[in-house]
């Protein structure tokens, strides 16, 4: 008897199923078919993969989380002083961003800390003061707040207050940020603006995997402390063909990803993809064409790219999730 095909309704980005996963696999094992039907249940966006540069050599399919993992792997390979630490990073992290790194590079280089964000940030600063490289993780950007004192009063001011003798240049702080299906109040925060207005640190947010890898490697190698927020909703849903080589994308440079003539739209991270859909809608419904500029680095931001628009277009829309 032929098995009935199973239709799985996908709301948002994760497939939801009335059967358990076991039931799903049993269905597949019997030779049945599983069809995943996407149905928008709320406002969302479509991720459009970025094309790798023409000069890129070997490429490999990676989602944003895997691209971040790849960047950290390259950092650990090329910088023998680099260490990665935070809560639960040793087994791979709650999102898998540090998967396999402890196995490959050793527990002294990729290790867990107690649950204490100000301790993680402070220790990261200390590693940097000693001349080594620290890539620290805040489990969620929502929990970066206890580390606020160390970031604002210490990391950002270290070079300035010591007359350029001590620095926390080797410090990079990573955190998953932004909204997700089920995160609610305390797993969806976008606190980047708290740090955007602080001199002495750099604030960077990528829009996809190719961007994430290059920007994170730049952050890790930058001669200033950097904060790198990774839009968690893009961890699995954003997939590019990412160059496997060691490459960096410069900080402080925005990128215009779409040209238009009526409106300039500026955003970063997930909102870029929302704006892409908005631009498409605007073009179809109202005949309005839009520039879309991805800031990438929020601090210091690239005013030249944003301001360098056609003079007859004075309207600008900035979109950020809060």
């Amino acid at each position: 008897m032929a098995s009935k095909g199973l239709r799985v309704l996908s709301t948002g980005l994760q497939p939801k199923c009335s059967l358990s996963y076991r039931g799903l696999f049993q269905q597949l094992a019997k030779g049945g078919t599983v069809t995943i039907v996407s149905k928008r249940s709320c406002s969302y966006f479509t991720y459009v993969p970025e094309e790798p540069p023409e000069t890129a050599g070997e490429v490999r399919q990676m989602n944003l989380c895997q691209a971040v993992n790849n960047a950290m792997e390259i950092a650990l390979q090329t910088d023998p002083t680099a260490v990665i630490f935070g809560e639960d990073v040793a087994f791979g992290g709650v999102f898998g961003a540090t998967r396999d790194l402890a196995t490959k590079f050793g527990k002294d280089r990729v290790f867990n800390t107690p649950i204490c964000e100000h301790g993680i940030a402070g220790a990261g600063i200390g590693v940097a003061i000693a001349g080594s490289t620290a890539v620290i993780e805040m489990q969620f950007a929502d929990y970066i707040m206890p580390a606020f004192d160390q970031i604002i009063n210490e990391a950002s001011r270290m070079r300035y207050r010591s007359g350029n003798t001590f620095t926390s240049a080797g410090l990079t702080i990573r955190a998953p940020s932004g909204g997700i299906n089920h995160g609610a109040i305390y797993h969806s925060s976008s606190p980047e603006t708290f740090f955007t207005h602080m001199p002495g640190i750099k604030m960077v947010i990528p829009r996809g995997p190719i961007q994430a890898k290059g920007l994170l490697l730049s952050c890790i190698r930058e001669n200033d402390p950097c904060i790198f927020f990774e839009p968690k909703i893009l961890y699995r849903s954003a997939v590019d063909m990412v160059p496997t080589e060691d490459y960096m994308i410069p900080l402080g440079k925005a990128e215009k990803i779409q040209d238009g003539s009526d409106l300039t739209m500026v955003a970063w991270g997930t909102q870029i993809h929302v704006l892409r859909d908005v631009a498409k809608l605007a073009a179809e419904k109202y005949g309005i064409t839009c520039d879309i500029i991805d800031l990438r680095t929020l601090n210091p931001w690239d005013m030249d790219t944003v301001a360098n628009v056609r003079r007859n277009r004075l309207k600008q829309l900035r979109s950020f999730s809060a």
Binding site: T81, V83, A134, Q150, G163, T165, T167, G200, G252
Partner: protein, 460 residues
Amino acid sequence: MATSRRVWSFSRRLKLHFSSLKPIYAAAPCVPVRFQGSSQQSGDHVITDAFKPPKEAFTLEDRPHFPGSSSKWTEKLCFVEPTRYDGIPVYRVMDRDGQIMDSTQDPNFNEETVVKMYHTMTLLNTMDRVLYDSQRQGRISFYMTNYGEEGTHIGSAAALDDKDLVFGQYRETGILMWRGFPIQQFMNQCYGNNAGGDKGRQMPVHYGCTERCFVTISSPLATQMPQAVGSAYAYKRAGNGQVVITYFGDGASSEGDAHAAFNFAATLDCPIIFFCRNNGYAISTPTAEQYRGDGIACRGPGYGMSAIRVDGNDVFAVYNVTKAAREIAFKENRPVLIEAMTYRIGHHSTSDDSSAYRSVDEVRYWDKHDHPIGRLRKYMFRKGLWDDDKEQAWMKKSKQTILTAFADAEKRKKSSPVECFRDVYKEMPWHIERQMQETKEHLAKYRDQYPLDKFDSWDD
């Protein structure tokens, strides 16, 4: 260590006291179980056993097997009461008259070392007096003295290697002085002039020096502690033969960063010495309002660290414990906590008048009867290493050294105003460059409104 417990009937007590909910447990004569871990005693150093949990291998014996604790069962409901055990004793070498109590603890310094210790402590004291008065005269903006705590600085600094990294709080000037930081540089930083290492960006006493491995002081309390732990971890990986020491006060130990640092240092096996200067006050807050437990040393075992309490006014004792702590930290890659008991004879700073919250008699007692400089002087007199003539000559010379540096620092100009914009990042970004340019134009246009003759000029 055997503990004695009175056997009492739990169910009977429960029936009697259930409704009243009286704190019956406080009366239970329980004392905390002291875990006998591996002994730390050796002929080389003189610290006591640490509170370490037993490390027996997993057996089928009827013991609890929780991942969070290796211990044993008890059927006696008994709280570990903080008031039912003696405080950690205070280690000393000399009594208040400078007499060695136990000759086996005498570090047996040669004359040169003892004299250097005395010279440094008194030079620091003289510099404090001059700079405190200069603030009162409006010549510098702010100052913090080290009166009464000179022993903690010099004793610990002498026990360290000069390349050990120091993270201070703000009252550790003596460490820098021991390491040869020029008096001129202290003065320059306090004056905020163009030769001060921080280019006038920080308040006075916020010294720093890469050459002498002294991380620049910052004002927020205890932030240096987890940073010191991170540096210690990096030093361990680098295998550079150095340890890290971080100083903090009794007040700063209440900060969350102190807890973070203790816990991280222990769990990450860091070669770090935590040195607490317990001087009795955090500005106006006495220790009775700062903590309820037995000071700071008692927290060490709670985090899995060795700890010791020492007489901070006994420079030899401070030396001995720091030396022993350094050996443990370096050889065994684990943190050690030292609590140096002392007294803050001066005000918190020039912005404070401590007569508002403590009696002048109390201060006078410590100044006259239990002062680290006085104690060392008595020792030196007793040993024939010092006398009144040498004292007079040295006081004259040290004051001259201070005043010469002072006069030079006062003459210097301040750094150029455009230094405000430099060193924020390694490379100046466009928006700070623009602000700097706007400031230059503003100053050029309105130069008569600003005392620019007191500042270095700048390139346009």
